[in-house]
Symmetry: C2
Subunit: 196 residues, 2 copies
């Protein structure tokens, strides 16, 4: 199953590029999720990643379809603040579009409206959502059973707990970006999910 | 010269639509500048404006080219956080694109990179920039002389002071949106600029 790495906005692109290139063989997608940076900074960062050799096909632009269009990124990830998936699929049918969801109902709705995959979370306790209880794995199991599109789990995922949900990809932020040994961690994640 | 009305994010779209329809004959453009609202809320607001009869050709989308593309808006206004104008004109040559500038150098650069107009400010003291001294009218006079594209002044503009700069359009926020009589104020602005 796929391993998604999501940028968390806390690193300059120079640092993100260094880690991304280190772990590139062990991740399937790198999400550019940078809410505080300007569009110019994000475009410059994408150029930096591409010049370093990071493959365009593995880049996913979060929220900003316009930035994706001017940088030739064809993977989009939408959150609740983003343009709704049905608009995106209608106007830009050549884009692969994923949606964050937080329930089975939202997952079904996203699939019906054209989402190419859904990301569900947060599964486990995580420092990035300290005040929200984790959702656990029960609902994602139901989502996996009922939907046809790929499912990705996110939130507090470690190499140890990532096998608790079979047949779902995983999305990782600090588990790779904020560790001493990103390459070793990425290998562990991909090793755990790679055989599913 | 053109009168631009800019939404300030402090009103629900129902209120903005009411005022926009009241003053529609006296404004040339309505900028949708909503940094806090979600994309869905902004799209719904644009649909509301259109259903009320506000003309598409007068709508200007601030920053979000993707929202413009899915709502068929063809006027874009870019700020310093936005995708740079040269990218926008290259990838979307059918869009009319204006840029906020704060100096003669920035204005020249924006024109060279393809801006269809520039907006300079803030000219006069305004509550929306309480901690920044106003730039006055000297530099905008130089910009008007040196550039070929239309210039729009913004910031603290009143019906009384809006004639201090000739041959420039004006952009107004609270001067129309946060007054008791938006229609009367819009008439005063348009009356003052209409004969230039």
């Amino acid at each position: 199953m796929d391993v998604h790495l999501i940028s968390n906005g806390r690193q300059p692109f120079s640092e993100l590029t260094k880690i991304a290139m280190e772990v590139e063989s062990y991740i399937d997608f790198l999400h550019i999720r940078e809410r505080e940076k300007t569009a110019q900074e994000i475009i410059d960062g994408i150029v930096m990643l591409r010049r370093a050799g990071f493959p365009l096909s593995k880049l996913v632009m979060n929220d900003r379809i316009d930035i994706a269009l001017v940088t030739s990124i064809t993977n989009i990830h939408l959150g609740y603040r983003s343009i709704p998936v049905e608009y995106v699929k209608h106007h830009f049918p050549f884009l692969r579009v994923g949606c964050s969801v937080h329930s089975l109902d939202e997952a079904r709705s996203a699939e019906q409206k054209g989402a190419d995959y859904v990301m569900y979370g947060h599964l486990f306790a995580t420092n990035s959502k300290p005040n929200l209880p984790p959702r656990g794995i029960e609902e994602i199991e139901a989502i996996i059973k009922q939907l046809s599109v790929p499912i990705v789990g996110v939130g507090g995922i470690t190499p140890a707990n990532c096998t608790l949900v079979r047949d779902a990809g995983i999305a990782v932020m600090s588990g790779i970006l904020e560790v001493d040994n990103p390459l070793e961690q990425a290998k562990l994640y991909k090793g755990a999910k790679g055989n599913e």
